[in-house]
């Protein structure tokens, strides 16, 4: 037996405790934030909020139906365009790309995920809004798709690499063409992971605000025409939060609660899918 000097033991326990404290801070911040959003949001989260349109400014009541439909349109179009393109790019990276082209695309995709979303918003503004001469949901969808494509591409590539080579070889040995092997054997096997990536991208897009400021602009009225300025949940929260009307601030909290529910459900679902997929 030997004795560890008291000082070393104390330092050890102290630092371990501090690390525990750090982890507790991380967990605690999320807890406190969620509690605040729930407590502040739940009172204003009524059926009327979801189904009705904003009242004239200063008149109590009204809802955010226009923002909910707007977000659905903007994110929906971005998904329909961005996710297939992202999956295709991931297929290219995993199955076809040579070492040089692959490294270039992979590196660009990684760097693109680090580009601030506000810059992507300016890109959408400069490329689409100034050319078409109008703020529109489509320009917003474009910006969101630019954000989503690299994310989906990288996750798709990673799950494709998890699919064993033997499976491809077995399929090819049966005389099945390479593209059929990829689309009918590899893709279905990797589907859980691909869906994971798509859902993460969806959650990310639903929460984006900065790109929409420059592209969809926002709108206080009901609009389902994607070529016109459109409201979005995040834009509405941003707007209402800094307006000096208590009832609008309550609605901002309620909208936050609604948005958080969607995003957390998506993330938790992804987590569960991914875990069962990896079988660990």
């Amino acid at each position: 037996m030997y004795e560890i000097a008291l000082r070393r033991r104390v330092v050890d326990h102290l630092m371990v405790a501090l690390c525990g404290l750090a982890a507790a801070i991380g967990v605690g911040v999320l807890g406190v934030l969620l509690i605040h959003v729930v407590v502040n949001g739940v009172s204003a989260l009524t059926p009327a909020l979801i189904t009705s349109l904003p009242t004239p400014l200063g008149v109590e009541g009204g809802g955010i139906a226009h923002a909910i439909i707007g977000s659905a349109i903007i994110v929906g179009i971005a998904c329909v365009v961005g996710i297939p393109l992202g999956v295709g790019a991931g297929v290219y990276l995993a199955e076809y790309a040579g070492p040089r082209a692959g490294a270039l695309v992979r590196f660009t995709a990684d760097v693109m995920t680090g580009v601030p979303s506000i810059v992507v918003g300016i890109f959408g503004f400069a490329l689409i809004v100034t050319r078409t001469g109008a703020f529109s949901a489509l320009a917003g969808s474009f910006s969101l798709a630019v954000i989503a494509i690299p994310i989906v591409a990288r996750t798709t590539e990673e799950v494709f690499h998890l699919v064993p080579l033997e499976l491809r070889e077995a399929s090819l040995a049966l005389g099945i063409r390479r593209w059929r092997t990829i689309s009918s054997v590899v893709l279905p096997t990797a589907s859980a992971g691909v869906i994971t990536g798509a859902m993460l991208a969806l959650a990310r897009m639903a929460g984006e605000t900065a790109p929409l400021i420059f592209t969809t602009l926002g709108n206080n009225f009901w609009n389902v025409d994607p070529t016109r300025p459109t409201a979005a949940m995040t834009l509405t929260i941003f707007q209402y939060a800094i307006w000096p009307y208590a009832y609008l601030q309550r609605q901002a909290w309620a909208a936050s609660l609604l948005l958080l529910l969607v995003i957390l459900v998506l993330n938790v679902a992804v987590r569960l899918t991914y875990r069962s997929y990896r079988g660990s």
Partner: protein, 373 residues
């Protein structure tokens, strides 16, 4: 290791051709991959079926000979489509740079380098210099790292080194969930919860430490300090997640050697684990810096958006991204818009440099064999 792939015969029902296929795969040796697909009946393209049959017959019939080039064509089309989508990412990135340059060039050519070193922001006379925004961006990002780095690394050490998996998994999941919370919601929370707390802290600290220039000025609550706190919360998840992965990549033999020599847990961590992972941890910090530099909404909601360089942490300030976000709707002439886009381009270049450095650092470390993950 078992792998099965069987394709049963196609059968024709009416005008349609179906294929019954069974694909399954299991790998039990090291328990890593398990994928299964049960029996599936699916509609197939009749042409495709005939082609498969034709290939089986070694392409002897006239029909097979006629269709043989088409088989290669399908592959080529698929390959081509995938390549186009892959290269689309590169094209989009190039287009982004080109568009930003094209639209920002007016401001760059009008002001040249003075754009980033002067402090005038006067849309009325058309003079623009973004130095205060650059100052605010750098100070708020750095301060947020000062707050978040010890917490993030501590949490990562806790997750990897100190607790069993059943504690580590949920803790790391919860911290990562912070990253999923939309920026605007963190901004809302920051504005109504963090800012009042910061105001009280400022009111308490200010009079007592006013001899230090950093802590002077009225206690607004809104300002650099609040922005840095909110930013610290936002970069915490990426810091923790990347550091956690880096620490997991440190070979277990390193720890075991140190522990066998009689070191305590903390000595093992500070003298072996952290030095081994220092490059990756530096990468994590720089990655977090990149995130902090570009963060927009939450910052613009709590920083006060005042275009002024002030030595105090209590003072309202602005950042490049919040400058763009808040001024954009007021930009009513081309030069004004161009100045904002140029500010965006400055931000873009900074984050690209920061991100590239971070990626290179993290990538190099993730290739070490023998880690825990």
């Amino acid at each position: 290791m078992d792998a099965y792939l069987r394709l049963y015969r196609n059968f024709i029902f009416g005008l349609f051709t179906f294929r019954i296929a069974r694909v399954s795969f299991e790998r039990d040796d090291d328990n890593t991959v398990r994928a299964q697909q049960g029996t599936a009946i699916r509609l197939v393209n009749p042409i495709d079926t005939r082609l498969t049959a034709a290939r089986g017959a070694r392409a002897t019939g006239p029909l097979a000979r006629a269709l043989a080039p088409a088989v290669g064509l399908q592959d080529a089309l698929f390959h081509g489509a995938a390549s186009v989508m892959g290269l689309l990412i590169v094209v989009l990135a190039a287009l982004l740079v080109a568009t930003m340059l094209e639209r920002g060039i007016d401001a760059f050519s009008a002001f040249g380098p003075t754009f980033v070193v002067t402090s005038t922001w006067n849309p009325v006379v058309g003079e623009f210099g973004v130095l205060p925004a650059i100052y605010g961006t750098i100070v708020s990002s750095m301060l947020s790292l000062v707050i978040a780095v010890p917490v993030g690394i501590g949490a990562a050490i806790f997750i990897v080194e100190l607790v069993p998996r059943w504690v580590a998994e949920p803790v790391s999941f919860i911290i990562e969930m912070l990253a999923a919370i939309p920026s605007v919601i963190i901004g809302l929370w920051g504005l109504y919860v963090v800012v009042p707390i910061v105001r009280q802290i400022e009111a308490f600290v200010g009079p007592r430490l006013s001899f230090i220039p950093l802590f002077t000025g009225p206690a607004y609550g809104i300002g650099l300090l609040a922005a840095s706190l909110v930013l610290a919360i936002m970069v915490l998840p990426i810091l923790t997640a990347v550091t956690r992965d880096v620490l997991r990549a440190v070979p277990s033999s390193q720890r075991e050697g140190m522990l066998a020599l009689g070191a305590t847990r903390w000595e093992t961590i500070t003298r072996v684990v952290l030095p081994f992972g220092r490059q990756g941890i530096a990468g994590a910090i720089i990655l977090a810096l990149g995130r902090a530099l570009g963060e927009t909404l939450a910052v613009s909601m709590v920083i006060g958006n005042q275009f002024k360089i002030s030595g105090s942490l209590f003072a309202p300030a602005t950042t490049l991204s919040s400058l763009i976000a808040t001024q954009f709707r007021e930009a009513d002439n081309p030069l004004y818009v161009s100045a904002l886009i140029a500010a965006g381009f400055v931000l873009f270049c900074t984050t690209i440099v920061v991100n590239v450095i971070a990626r290179l650092l993290v990538w190099r470390l993730s290739r070490v064999p023998g880690g825990r993950s």
